[in-house]
Symmetry: C2
Subunit: 313 residues, 2 copies
Protein backbone atom coordinates (compact mmCIF):
# COMPACT_ATOMS: atom_id res chain seq x y z
CA UNK A 1 0.00 0.00 0.00
CA UNK A 2 1.52 3.34 -1.08
CA UNK A 3 1.19 6.10 1.48
CA UNK A 4 2.08 9.76 1.81
CA UNK A 5 3.45 10.17 5.34
CA UNK A 6 4.87 13.18 7.17
CA UNK A 7 7.90 11.53 8.79
CA UNK A 8 8.90 13.11 12.08
CA UNK A 9 12.57 13.61 11.20
CA UNK A 10 12.64 13.35 7.41
CA UNK A 11 9.51 15.26 6.41
CA UNK A 12 6.88 14.22 3.82
CA UNK A 13 7.72 11.02 1.98
CA UNK A 14 5.98 8.58 -0.29
CA UNK A 15 6.41 5.18 1.31
CA UNK A 16 5.10 1.71 0.65
CA UNK A 17 3.65 -0.24 3.57
CA UNK A 18 3.41 -3.99 3.18
CA UNK A 19 0.97 -5.77 5.48
CA UNK A 20 -0.67 -9.12 5.98
CA UNK A 21 -4.12 -9.95 7.30
CA UNK A 22 -4.95 -13.23 8.96
CA UNK A 23 -8.15 -14.63 10.38
CA UNK A 24 -11.76 -13.78 9.98
CA UNK A 25 -12.82 -10.92 7.71
CA UNK A 26 -15.05 -8.40 9.55
CA UNK A 27 -14.02 -9.82 12.94
CA UNK A 28 -12.54 -7.44 15.54
CA UNK A 29 -9.05 -6.46 14.46
CA UNK A 30 -5.90 -7.00 16.49
CA UNK A 31 -2.65 -5.34 15.44
CA UNK A 32 0.43 -7.41 16.31
CA UNK A 33 3.94 -6.02 16.14
CA UNK A 34 7.26 -7.56 17.14
CA UNK A 35 10.92 -6.64 17.18
CA UNK A 36 12.80 -4.81 14.44
CA UNK A 37 13.39 -8.08 12.59
CA UNK A 38 9.75 -9.20 12.79
CA UNK A 39 7.57 -8.34 9.82
CA UNK A 40 4.17 -8.69 8.24
CA UNK A 41 4.17 -12.49 8.33
CA UNK A 42 3.26 -13.06 11.97
CA UNK A 43 1.94 -16.58 11.49
CA UNK A 44 1.27 -19.27 8.93
CA UNK A 45 -2.03 -18.75 7.17
CA UNK A 46 -4.00 -19.71 4.06
CA UNK A 47 -2.06 -17.40 1.75
CA UNK A 48 1.35 -18.17 3.14
CA UNK A 49 1.78 -21.42 5.04
CA UNK A 50 5.42 -20.80 5.98
CA UNK A 51 6.06 -20.22 9.68
CA UNK A 52 5.71 -16.67 10.93
CA UNK A 53 7.51 -15.00 13.82
CA UNK A 54 4.64 -15.50 16.30
CA UNK A 55 2.92 -18.79 15.37
CA UNK A 56 2.91 -19.66 19.06
CA UNK A 57 0.42 -16.86 19.78
CA UNK A 58 -1.36 -16.21 16.47
CA UNK A 59 -3.47 -18.86 14.75
CA UNK A 60 -6.58 -21.01 15.09
CA UNK A 61 -7.07 -21.77 18.78
CA UNK A 62 -4.12 -19.63 19.83
CA UNK A 63 -4.32 -16.76 22.31
CA UNK A 64 -4.77 -14.42 19.36
CA UNK A 65 -7.35 -16.70 17.78
CA UNK A 66 -7.70 -16.31 14.03
CA UNK A 67 -11.01 -18.24 14.18
CA UNK A 68 -12.65 -15.24 15.83
CA UNK A 69 -10.28 -12.32 15.28
CA UNK A 70 -8.69 -10.56 12.37
CA UNK A 71 -4.96 -9.98 12.73
CA UNK A 72 -2.91 -7.29 11.04
CA UNK A 73 0.87 -7.09 10.92
CA UNK A 74 3.11 -4.94 8.73
CA UNK A 75 6.70 -4.80 7.59
CA UNK A 76 8.30 -1.89 9.42
CA UNK A 77 9.00 1.23 7.43
CA UNK A 78 12.67 0.87 6.58
CA UNK A 79 12.67 -2.94 6.65
CA UNK A 80 13.25 -3.17 2.89
CA UNK A 81 16.34 -0.95 3.13
CA UNK A 82 14.91 1.56 0.64
CA UNK A 83 14.15 4.30 3.17
CA UNK A 84 17.53 5.60 4.32
CA UNK A 85 16.44 8.38 6.68
CA UNK A 86 15.85 8.56 10.45
CA UNK A 87 12.61 6.68 11.13
CA UNK A 88 10.65 7.37 14.27
CA UNK A 89 8.36 4.99 16.13
CA UNK A 90 5.74 7.71 15.57
CA UNK A 91 6.13 7.21 11.80
CA UNK A 92 5.41 3.51 12.21
CA UNK A 93 2.33 4.32 14.33
CA UNK A 94 1.07 6.77 11.69
CA UNK A 95 1.60 4.17 8.96
CA UNK A 96 -0.47 1.67 10.93
CA UNK A 97 -3.24 4.25 11.44
CA UNK A 98 -3.26 4.89 7.68
CA UNK A 99 -3.55 1.15 7.09
CA UNK A 100 -6.58 1.05 9.42
CA UNK A 101 -8.10 3.89 7.38
CA UNK A 102 -7.53 1.97 4.18
CA UNK A 103 -9.12 -1.13 5.68
CA UNK A 104 -12.11 0.90 6.85
CA UNK A 105 -11.44 -0.06 10.47
CA UNK A 106 -12.42 2.77 12.79
CA UNK A 107 -11.38 1.09 16.00
CA UNK A 108 -9.31 -2.04 16.55
CA UNK A 109 -9.75 -4.30 19.51
CA UNK A 110 -6.13 -4.24 20.58
CA UNK A 111 -2.57 -3.35 19.70
CA UNK A 112 -0.25 -6.09 20.92
CA UNK A 113 3.38 -5.14 20.58
CA UNK A 114 6.61 -6.64 21.85
CA UNK A 115 10.08 -5.08 21.91
CA UNK A 116 10.14 -2.36 19.19
CA UNK A 117 6.50 -3.27 18.57
CA UNK A 118 5.67 -2.24 22.12
CA UNK A 119 7.35 1.12 21.52
CA UNK A 120 5.30 1.60 18.36
CA UNK A 121 2.21 0.51 20.29
CA UNK A 122 2.83 3.22 22.89
CA UNK A 123 3.22 5.78 20.10
CA UNK A 124 0.06 4.52 18.46
CA UNK A 125 -1.85 4.79 21.73
CA UNK A 126 -0.50 8.32 22.29
CA UNK A 127 -1.23 9.55 18.74
CA UNK A 128 -4.27 7.48 17.76
CA UNK A 129 -5.70 6.42 21.10
CA UNK A 130 -9.27 6.47 19.80
CA UNK A 131 -8.39 3.71 17.34
CA UNK A 132 -7.81 0.90 19.92
CA UNK A 133 -9.57 -0.50 22.96
CA UNK A 134 -6.44 -1.77 24.64
CA UNK A 135 -2.67 -1.81 24.36
CA UNK A 136 -0.45 -4.70 25.36
CA UNK A 137 3.18 -3.58 25.55
CA UNK A 138 5.65 -6.40 26.13
CA UNK A 139 9.30 -5.58 26.87
CA UNK A 140 9.17 -2.07 25.48
CA UNK A 141 9.07 1.27 27.30
CA UNK A 142 8.45 4.96 26.69
CA UNK A 143 12.13 5.43 25.80
CA UNK A 144 15.17 3.31 25.09
CA UNK A 145 17.37 2.86 28.14
CA UNK A 146 20.70 4.74 27.74
CA UNK A 147 22.73 1.57 28.35
CA UNK A 148 20.78 -0.33 25.71
CA UNK A 149 21.18 2.63 23.34
CA UNK A 150 24.94 2.56 23.83
CA UNK A 151 24.93 -1.18 23.10
CA UNK A 152 23.02 -0.63 19.87
CA UNK A 153 25.16 2.35 18.87
CA UNK A 154 28.22 0.08 19.06
CA UNK A 155 26.41 -2.52 16.94
CA UNK A 156 25.84 0.16 14.33
CA UNK A 157 29.55 0.91 14.48
CA UNK A 158 30.26 -2.74 13.63
CA UNK A 159 28.19 -2.22 10.49
CA UNK A 160 29.91 1.08 9.76
CA UNK A 161 33.33 -0.57 10.13
CA UNK A 162 32.33 -3.38 7.78
CA UNK A 163 30.83 -0.92 5.27
CA UNK A 164 33.79 1.40 5.11
CA UNK A 165 36.19 -1.53 4.67
CA UNK A 166 34.22 -3.42 2.03
CA UNK A 167 33.07 -6.13 4.43
CA UNK A 168 29.41 -5.17 4.80
CA UNK A 169 28.08 -8.63 5.43
CA UNK A 170 30.71 -9.42 8.03
CA UNK A 171 30.06 -6.19 9.89
CA UNK A 172 26.31 -6.80 9.80
CA UNK A 173 26.70 -10.38 11.02
CA UNK A 174 28.91 -9.21 13.89
CA UNK A 175 26.40 -6.53 14.86
CA UNK A 176 23.65 -9.14 14.94
CA UNK A 177 25.74 -11.36 17.20
CA UNK A 178 26.11 -8.56 19.74
CA UNK A 179 22.37 -7.95 19.43
CA UNK A 180 21.67 -11.63 20.13
CA UNK A 181 23.67 -11.38 23.35
CA UNK A 182 21.54 -8.44 24.43
CA UNK A 183 18.32 -10.34 23.68
CA UNK A 184 19.34 -13.32 25.82
CA UNK A 185 20.68 -13.80 29.34
CA UNK A 186 23.67 -15.11 31.27
CA UNK A 187 21.30 -17.70 32.79
CA UNK A 188 20.56 -19.23 29.38
CA UNK A 189 24.16 -19.07 28.18
CA UNK A 190 25.38 -20.53 31.45
CA UNK A 191 23.24 -23.61 30.85
CA UNK A 192 23.70 -23.96 27.08
CA UNK A 193 27.36 -23.11 26.65
CA UNK A 194 29.06 -24.36 29.77
CA UNK A 195 31.91 -26.19 27.96
CA UNK A 196 35.41 -24.69 28.26
CA UNK A 197 36.75 -23.05 25.11
CA UNK A 198 38.68 -25.22 22.67
CA UNK A 199 41.96 -24.20 21.06
CA UNK A 200 41.89 -24.32 17.24
CA UNK A 201 45.15 -23.43 15.49
CA UNK A 202 46.35 -21.68 18.62
CA UNK A 203 43.22 -19.56 19.08
CA UNK A 204 40.50 -20.19 21.65
CA UNK A 205 36.97 -20.68 20.40
CA UNK A 206 34.28 -20.28 23.06
CA UNK A 207 31.32 -22.62 23.33
CA UNK A 208 28.74 -20.04 22.19
CA UNK A 209 30.66 -18.86 19.14
CA UNK A 210 29.31 -21.34 16.60
CA UNK A 211 25.74 -20.62 17.64
CA UNK A 212 26.26 -16.86 17.50
CA UNK A 213 28.08 -17.02 14.17
CA UNK A 214 25.18 -18.98 12.72
CA UNK A 215 22.69 -16.36 13.97
CA UNK A 216 24.81 -13.57 12.52
CA UNK A 217 25.24 -15.16 9.10
CA UNK A 218 21.58 -16.04 8.78
CA UNK A 219 20.64 -12.49 9.61
CA UNK A 220 23.16 -10.93 7.23
CA UNK A 221 21.87 -13.13 4.40
CA UNK A 222 18.32 -11.83 4.85
CA UNK A 223 18.71 -8.18 5.81
CA UNK A 224 20.41 -5.13 4.37
CA UNK A 225 22.77 -3.05 6.44
CA UNK A 226 20.61 0.02 5.79
CA UNK A 227 17.51 -1.66 7.22
CA UNK A 228 19.46 -2.72 10.31
CA UNK A 229 21.00 0.72 10.83
CA UNK A 230 17.74 2.63 10.43
CA UNK A 231 15.58 0.32 12.54
CA UNK A 232 18.20 -0.02 15.27
CA UNK A 233 18.47 3.77 15.30
CA UNK A 234 14.69 4.07 15.41
CA UNK A 235 14.63 2.27 18.76
CA UNK A 236 17.00 4.88 20.17
CA UNK A 237 15.05 7.80 18.73
CA UNK A 238 11.85 6.54 20.39
CA UNK A 239 10.32 8.76 23.09
CA UNK A 240 6.69 8.84 24.23
CA UNK A 241 5.14 10.90 27.01
CA UNK A 242 3.42 8.17 29.06
CA UNK A 243 0.77 10.68 30.20
CA UNK A 244 -0.38 10.95 26.57
CA UNK A 245 -1.36 7.27 26.60
CA UNK A 246 -4.93 7.10 27.94
CA UNK A 247 -5.81 3.71 26.46
CA UNK A 248 -6.10 0.86 29.00
CA UNK A 249 -2.69 -0.79 28.90
CA UNK A 250 -1.12 -4.05 30.00
CA UNK A 251 2.66 -3.75 30.38
CA UNK A 252 4.56 -7.03 30.45
CA UNK A 253 8.05 -6.86 31.95
CA UNK A 254 10.70 -9.57 32.03
CA UNK A 255 12.86 -9.30 35.13
CA UNK A 256 15.92 -10.75 33.37
CA UNK A 257 15.66 -8.45 30.34
CA UNK A 258 19.15 -6.97 29.68
CA UNK A 259 17.78 -4.23 27.40
CA UNK A 260 14.59 -3.02 29.05
CA UNK A 261 15.04 -2.81 32.82
CA UNK A 262 12.05 -3.65 35.00
CA UNK A 263 12.47 -0.24 36.66
CA UNK A 264 11.73 1.53 33.35
CA UNK A 265 8.52 -0.44 32.89
CA UNK A 266 7.53 0.22 36.50
CA UNK A 267 8.03 3.93 35.84
CA UNK A 268 6.02 3.65 32.63
CA UNK A 269 3.08 2.02 34.40
CA UNK A 270 3.16 4.62 37.16
CA UNK A 271 3.00 7.51 34.70
CA UNK A 272 0.64 6.21 31.99
CA UNK A 273 -2.35 8.47 31.45
CA UNK A 274 -4.92 5.66 31.59
CA UNK A 275 -5.63 2.45 33.48
CA UNK A 276 -2.45 0.38 33.49
CA UNK A 277 -1.41 -3.02 34.77
CA UNK A 278 2.14 -4.28 35.19
CA UNK A 279 2.61 -8.00 34.65
CA UNK A 280 6.15 -9.03 35.56
CA UNK A 281 7.45 -12.37 34.34
CA UNK A 282 10.66 -14.22 34.99
CA UNK A 283 12.41 -15.83 32.04
CA UNK A 284 15.86 -17.12 31.27
CA UNK A 285 15.26 -15.81 27.72
CA UNK A 286 15.31 -12.19 28.84
CA UNK A 287 14.24 -9.76 26.14
CA UNK A 288 13.32 -12.65 23.84
CA UNK A 289 10.78 -14.08 26.31
CA UNK A 290 7.87 -13.02 24.08
CA UNK A 291 9.17 -15.49 21.49
CA UNK A 292 9.99 -18.25 23.96
CA UNK A 293 7.68 -18.28 26.99
CA UNK A 294 4.68 -19.43 25.01
CA UNK A 295 2.41 -20.50 27.86
CA UNK A 296 3.01 -17.51 30.11
CA UNK A 297 2.65 -15.03 27.25
CA UNK A 298 -0.49 -16.80 25.99
CA UNK A 299 -2.11 -16.48 29.43
CA UNK A 300 -1.39 -12.75 29.56
CA UNK A 301 -2.66 -12.19 26.00
CA UNK A 302 -5.85 -14.15 26.63
CA UNK A 303 -6.51 -12.11 29.74
CA UNK A 304 -5.77 -8.80 28.00
CA UNK A 305 -7.96 -9.64 25.00
CA UNK A 306 -10.82 -10.62 27.30
CA UNK A 307 -10.47 -7.25 29.02
CA UNK A 308 -10.43 -5.50 25.63
CA UNK A 309 -13.55 -7.36 24.54
CA UNK A 310 -15.22 -6.42 27.82
CA UNK A 311 -14.30 -2.78 27.15
CA UNK A 312 -15.55 -2.95 23.56
CA UNK A 313 -19.02 -4.13 24.57
Amino acid sequence: MPLELALRHAGPRRVVVRGELLGLADAPLVIVAGGISAGRHAAAGRDDATPGWWDAQVGPGRAIDTRRLRVLAIDWLGADGALDVPIDSADQADALAAVLDALGVGRALAFIGASYGAMVGLQFAARHGDRIERLVAISGAHRAHPYASAWRALQRQCVALGRSEGAVSRGLALARQFAMLSYRTPEEFGERFDAPPALHDGVARCAAEDYLAHCGQRYAARWTSTAFLRLSESIDLHRVDPAAVRVPTTVVAIEEDRLVPLADLQQLVETLGGPATLRPLRSRYGHDAFLKEDAAIARLLTEALAAAEGGAK
Copy 2:
Protein backbone atom coordinates in the same frame (compact mmCIF):
# COMPACT_ATOMS: atom_id res chain seq x y z
CA MET B 1 63.44 -10.24 34.42
CA PRO B 2 64.01 -13.00 31.85
CA LEU B 3 62.38 -16.32 32.74
CA GLU B 4 62.10 -19.79 31.31
CA LEU B 5 58.46 -20.81 31.77
CA ALA B 6 56.56 -23.94 30.76
CA LEU B 7 53.42 -22.34 29.36
CA ARG B 8 50.34 -24.51 29.76
CA HIS B 9 49.23 -24.32 26.15
CA ALA B 10 52.34 -23.18 24.28
CA GLY B 11 55.09 -25.19 26.00
CA PRO B 12 58.48 -23.93 27.20
CA ARG B 13 59.17 -20.31 26.31
CA ARG B 14 61.67 -17.67 27.26
CA VAL B 15 59.66 -14.69 28.45
CA VAL B 16 60.46 -11.37 30.04
CA VAL B 17 58.51 -10.36 33.14
CA ARG B 18 58.46 -6.68 34.01
CA GLY B 19 57.57 -5.81 37.58
CA GLU B 20 57.60 -2.91 39.97
CA LEU B 21 58.17 -2.87 43.73
CA LEU B 22 56.76 -0.18 45.98
CA GLY B 23 57.06 0.42 49.70
CA LEU B 24 59.40 -0.77 52.36
CA ALA B 25 62.23 -3.14 51.48
CA ASP B 26 62.15 -6.27 53.68
CA ALA B 27 58.58 -5.57 54.79
CA PRO B 28 55.94 -8.27 54.27
CA LEU B 29 55.14 -8.51 50.54
CA VAL B 30 51.71 -8.04 49.02
CA ILE B 31 51.14 -8.98 45.38
CA VAL B 32 48.53 -6.79 43.68
CA ALA B 33 47.02 -7.63 40.32
CA GLY B 34 44.24 -5.95 38.35
CA GLY B 35 42.40 -6.37 35.08
CA ILE B 36 43.99 -7.25 31.75
CA SER B 37 44.81 -3.60 31.12
CA ALA B 38 46.39 -3.04 34.53
CA GLY B 39 50.15 -3.48 34.72
CA ARG B 40 53.20 -3.21 36.93
CA HIS B 41 52.64 0.43 37.82
CA ALA B 42 49.99 0.02 40.50
CA ALA B 43 50.61 3.36 42.18
CA ALA B 44 52.78 6.44 42.12
CA GLY B 45 56.05 5.93 43.92
CA ARG B 46 59.55 7.31 44.30
CA ASP B 47 60.81 5.87 41.02
CA ASP B 48 57.75 6.74 38.97
CA ALA B 49 55.51 9.49 40.30
CA THR B 50 52.90 9.16 37.54
CA PRO B 51 49.50 7.84 38.65
CA GLY B 52 49.09 4.06 38.75
CA TRP B 53 45.94 2.03 38.25
CA TRP B 54 45.30 1.56 42.01
CA ASP B 55 46.54 4.72 43.74
CA ALA B 56 43.33 4.72 45.75
CA GLN B 57 44.38 1.52 47.55
CA VAL B 58 48.19 1.42 47.30
CA GLY B 59 50.38 4.11 48.87
CA PRO B 60 51.44 5.70 52.13
CA GLY B 61 48.48 5.51 54.53
CA ARG B 62 46.33 3.60 52.05
CA ALA B 63 44.73 0.23 52.76
CA ILE B 64 47.76 -1.41 51.17
CA ASP B 65 50.13 0.81 53.10
CA THR B 66 53.52 1.25 51.47
CA ARG B 67 54.88 2.65 54.78
CA ARG B 68 54.74 -0.81 56.27
CA LEU B 69 54.34 -3.23 53.36
CA ARG B 70 56.19 -4.03 50.19
CA VAL B 71 54.01 -4.19 47.09
CA LEU B 72 54.72 -6.13 43.90
CA ALA B 73 52.87 -5.80 40.62
CA ILE B 74 53.83 -7.08 37.17
CA ASP B 75 52.93 -6.48 33.57
CA TRP B 76 50.95 -9.50 32.43
CA LEU B 77 52.66 -11.97 30.17
CA GLY B 78 51.40 -10.95 26.74
CA ALA B 79 50.86 -7.30 27.65
CA ASP B 80 53.68 -6.13 25.40
CA GLY B 81 52.18 -7.91 22.39
CA ALA B 82 55.34 -9.94 21.80
CA LEU B 83 53.96 -13.27 23.05
CA ASP B 84 51.40 -14.34 20.45
CA VAL B 85 50.35 -17.71 21.88
CA PRO B 86 47.50 -18.83 24.17
CA ILE B 87 48.37 -17.59 27.66
CA ASP B 88 46.82 -19.24 30.69
CA SER B 89 46.14 -17.67 34.05
CA ALA B 90 48.34 -20.51 35.37
CA ASP B 91 51.24 -19.11 33.32
CA GLN B 92 50.81 -15.73 34.99
CA ALA B 93 50.73 -17.40 38.40
CA ASP B 94 53.91 -19.31 37.63
CA ALA B 95 55.59 -16.12 36.44
CA LEU B 96 54.71 -14.43 39.73
CA ALA B 97 56.05 -17.39 41.72
CA ALA B 98 59.30 -17.13 39.76
CA VAL B 99 59.48 -13.43 40.59
CA LEU B 100 59.08 -14.27 44.30
CA ASP B 101 61.95 -16.75 43.93
CA ALA B 102 64.11 -14.08 42.33
CA LEU B 103 63.26 -11.63 45.12
CA GLY B 104 64.09 -14.25 47.71
CA VAL B 105 60.58 -14.08 49.16
CA GLY B 106 59.50 -17.48 50.44
CA ARG B 107 56.05 -16.46 51.53
CA ALA B 108 54.10 -13.30 50.76
CA LEU B 109 51.53 -11.85 53.12
CA ALA B 110 48.76 -11.68 50.57
CA PHE B 111 47.76 -11.88 46.94
CA ILE B 112 45.18 -9.21 46.21
CA GLY B 113 43.69 -9.58 42.75
CA ALA B 114 40.74 -8.00 40.99
CA SER B 115 39.08 -9.08 37.73
CA TYR B 116 41.68 -11.06 35.74
CA GLY B 117 44.00 -10.51 38.71
CA ALA B 118 41.56 -12.43 40.90
CA MET B 119 41.63 -15.32 38.42
CA VAL B 120 45.42 -15.33 38.50
CA GLY B 121 45.26 -15.12 42.30
CA LEU B 122 43.11 -18.24 42.42
CA GLN B 123 45.57 -20.03 40.14
CA PHE B 124 48.45 -18.84 42.29
CA ALA B 125 46.72 -20.10 45.43
CA ALA B 126 45.99 -23.46 43.77
CA ARG B 127 49.53 -23.91 42.38
CA HIS B 128 51.68 -22.09 44.92
CA GLY B 129 49.48 -22.02 47.99
CA ASP B 130 52.42 -22.24 50.38
CA ARG B 131 53.69 -18.90 49.08
CA ILE B 132 50.86 -16.70 50.48
CA GLU B 133 49.03 -16.28 53.78
CA ARG B 134 45.82 -15.05 52.23
CA LEU B 135 44.08 -14.45 48.92
CA VAL B 136 41.70 -11.60 48.20
CA ALA B 137 39.79 -12.25 44.97
CA ILE B 138 37.65 -9.33 43.82
CA SER B 139 35.22 -9.82 40.91
CA GLY B 140 36.92 -12.91 39.52
CA ALA B 141 35.86 -16.56 39.74
CA HIS B 142 37.19 -20.07 39.12
CA ARG B 143 36.10 -19.84 35.48
CA ALA B 144 34.83 -17.23 33.07
CA HIS B 145 31.06 -17.21 32.80
CA PRO B 146 29.89 -18.50 29.38
CA TYR B 147 27.91 -15.33 28.67
CA ALA B 148 30.91 -13.14 29.47
CA SER B 149 33.08 -15.40 27.31
CA ALA B 150 30.70 -14.95 24.39
CA TRP B 151 30.81 -11.19 24.90
CA ARG B 152 34.62 -11.22 24.83
CA ALA B 153 34.74 -13.58 21.85
CA LEU B 154 32.71 -11.04 19.88
CA GLN B 155 35.08 -8.27 20.98
CA ARG B 156 37.93 -10.33 19.58
CA GLN B 157 35.97 -10.61 16.34
CA CYS B 158 35.83 -6.81 16.16
CA VAL B 159 39.64 -6.85 16.29
CA ALA B 160 39.78 -9.65 13.71
CA LEU B 161 37.48 -7.70 11.38
CA GLY B 162 39.62 -4.59 11.71
CA ARG B 163 42.83 -6.56 11.21
CA SER B 164 41.73 -8.40 8.10
CA GLU B 165 40.45 -5.17 6.54
CA GLY B 166 43.46 -2.99 7.33
CA ALA B 167 41.69 -1.06 10.10
CA VAL B 168 43.41 -2.53 13.14
CA SER B 169 43.14 0.48 15.39
CA ARG B 170 39.45 0.99 14.58
CA GLY B 171 38.65 -2.66 15.32
CA LEU B 172 40.59 -2.51 18.57
CA ALA B 173 38.90 0.71 19.65
CA LEU B 174 35.49 -0.78 18.91
CA ALA B 175 36.32 -3.92 20.89
CA ARG B 176 37.35 -1.79 23.85
CA GLN B 177 34.06 0.11 23.69
CA PHE B 178 32.10 -3.12 23.97
CA ALA B 179 34.38 -4.13 26.83
CA MET B 180 33.68 -0.82 28.61
CA LEU B 181 29.95 -1.56 28.42
CA SER B 182 30.54 -4.90 30.07
CA TYR B 183 32.60 -3.31 32.85
CA ARG B 184 29.88 -0.81 33.72
CA THR B 185 26.15 -0.97 34.41
CA PRO B 186 22.80 0.23 33.13
CA GLU B 187 22.41 2.06 36.46
CA GLU B 188 25.46 4.22 35.80
CA PHE B 189 24.62 4.81 32.13
CA GLY B 190 21.03 5.64 33.03
CA GLU B 191 22.25 8.46 35.25
CA ARG B 192 25.14 9.72 33.13
CA PHE B 193 23.72 9.48 29.63
CA ASP B 194 20.03 10.19 29.97
CA ALA B 195 19.83 12.74 27.11
CA PRO B 196 17.95 11.67 23.97
CA PRO B 197 20.13 10.98 20.93
CA ALA B 198 20.90 13.89 18.63
CA LEU B 199 20.68 13.71 14.84
CA HIS B 200 23.90 14.70 13.07
CA ASP B 201 23.80 14.67 9.26
CA GLY B 202 20.76 12.42 9.37
CA VAL B 203 22.28 9.86 11.74
CA ALA B 204 21.46 9.52 15.44
CA ARG B 205 24.31 9.83 17.92
CA CYS B 206 23.51 8.47 21.38
CA ALA B 207 24.52 10.29 24.55
CA ALA B 208 27.16 7.73 25.58
CA GLU B 209 28.88 7.53 22.19
CA ASP B 210 31.41 10.34 22.67
CA TYR B 211 32.50 8.93 26.02
CA LEU B 212 32.83 5.40 24.66
CA ALA B 213 34.66 6.57 21.54
CA HIS B 214 37.15 8.42 23.74
CA CYS B 215 37.73 5.27 25.85
CA GLY B 216 38.21 3.19 22.71
CA GLN B 217 40.66 5.56 21.05
CA ARG B 218 42.73 6.03 24.18
CA TYR B 219 42.97 2.27 24.57
CA ALA B 220 43.88 1.64 20.93
CA ALA B 221 46.64 4.25 21.14
CA ARG B 222 48.29 2.43 24.06
CA TRP B 223 47.75 -1.26 23.35
CA THR B 224 48.48 -3.64 20.52
CA SER B 225 45.78 -5.82 19.06
CA THR B 226 47.85 -8.92 19.86
CA ALA B 227 48.02 -8.02 23.55
CA PHE B 228 44.27 -7.46 23.64
CA LEU B 229 43.48 -10.70 21.82
CA ARG B 230 45.77 -12.87 23.94
CA LEU B 231 44.81 -11.40 27.32
CA SER B 232 41.09 -11.37 26.50
CA GLU B 233 41.42 -15.00 25.42
CA SER B 234 43.34 -15.80 28.59
CA ILE B 235 40.31 -14.84 30.68
CA ASP B 236 38.23 -17.37 28.76
CA LEU B 237 40.84 -20.11 29.06
CA HIS B 238 40.94 -19.70 32.84
CA ARG B 239 39.75 -22.66 34.94
CA VAL B 240 40.68 -23.49 38.52
CA ASP B 241 39.40 -26.29 40.70
CA PRO B 242 38.22 -24.37 43.78
CA ALA B 243 38.98 -27.39 45.99
CA ALA B 244 42.66 -26.98 45.12
CA VAL B 245 42.68 -23.56 46.82
CA ARG B 246 43.39 -24.15 50.51
CA VAL B 247 44.66 -20.67 51.33
CA PRO B 248 42.29 -18.55 53.45
CA THR B 249 40.39 -16.48 50.91
CA THR B 250 38.21 -13.39 50.86
CA VAL B 251 35.98 -13.26 47.80
CA VAL B 252 34.49 -9.87 46.98
CA ALA B 253 31.42 -9.92 44.72
CA ILE B 254 29.63 -6.97 43.16
CA GLU B 255 25.93 -7.67 42.78
CA GLU B 256 25.61 -5.46 39.68
CA ASP B 257 28.61 -7.03 37.89
CA ARG B 258 27.54 -7.85 34.30
CA LEU B 259 30.54 -10.15 33.71
CA VAL B 260 30.96 -12.11 36.93
CA PRO B 261 27.57 -13.11 38.34
CA LEU B 262 27.19 -13.19 42.11
CA ALA B 263 26.01 -16.79 41.78
CA ASP B 264 29.41 -17.85 40.38
CA LEU B 265 31.22 -16.26 43.32
CA GLN B 266 28.79 -17.87 45.76
CA GLN B 267 29.55 -21.22 44.17
CA LEU B 268 33.27 -20.47 44.36
CA VAL B 269 33.11 -19.70 48.07
CA GLU B 270 31.07 -22.83 48.76
CA THR B 271 33.61 -25.06 47.03
CA LEU B 272 36.94 -23.50 47.98
CA GLY B 273 39.25 -25.95 49.73
CA GLY B 274 40.10 -23.63 52.62
CA PRO B 275 38.46 -21.04 54.87
CA ALA B 276 36.53 -18.64 52.68
CA THR B 277 34.47 -15.51 53.21
CA LEU B 278 32.11 -13.93 50.69
CA ARG B 279 31.84 -10.15 50.91
CA PRO B 280 29.10 -8.91 48.58
CA LEU B 281 29.01 -5.23 47.67
CA ARG B 282 26.57 -3.18 45.69
CA SER B 283 27.93 -0.72 43.16
CA ARG B 284 26.61 1.17 40.16
CA TYR B 285 30.07 0.63 38.65
CA GLY B 286 29.57 -3.13 38.32
CA HIS B 287 32.72 -4.99 37.37
CA ASP B 288 34.78 -1.77 37.69
CA ALA B 289 33.82 -1.31 41.35
CA PHE B 290 37.35 -2.20 42.49
CA LEU B 291 38.55 0.95 40.71
CA LYS B 292 35.69 3.15 41.84
CA GLU B 293 34.33 2.19 45.26
CA ASP B 294 37.42 3.36 47.10
CA ALA B 295 36.05 3.45 50.64
CA ALA B 296 34.23 0.11 50.54
CA ILE B 297 37.16 -1.67 48.89
CA ALA B 298 39.63 -0.09 51.34
CA ARG B 299 37.60 -1.39 54.29
CA LEU B 300 37.62 -4.92 52.90
CA LEU B 301 41.33 -4.81 52.09
CA THR B 302 42.22 -3.48 55.55
CA GLU B 303 40.20 -6.25 57.16
CA ALA B 304 41.72 -8.95 54.93
CA LEU B 305 45.28 -7.73 55.50
CA ALA B 306 44.71 -7.69 59.26
CA ALA B 307 43.51 -11.29 59.02
CA ALA B 308 46.58 -12.19 56.94
CA GLU B 309 48.88 -10.57 59.48
CA GLY B 310 47.10 -12.44 62.25
CA GLY B 311 47.64 -15.67 60.32
CA ALA B 312 51.29 -14.86 59.69
CA LYS B 313 52.07 -14.41 63.40
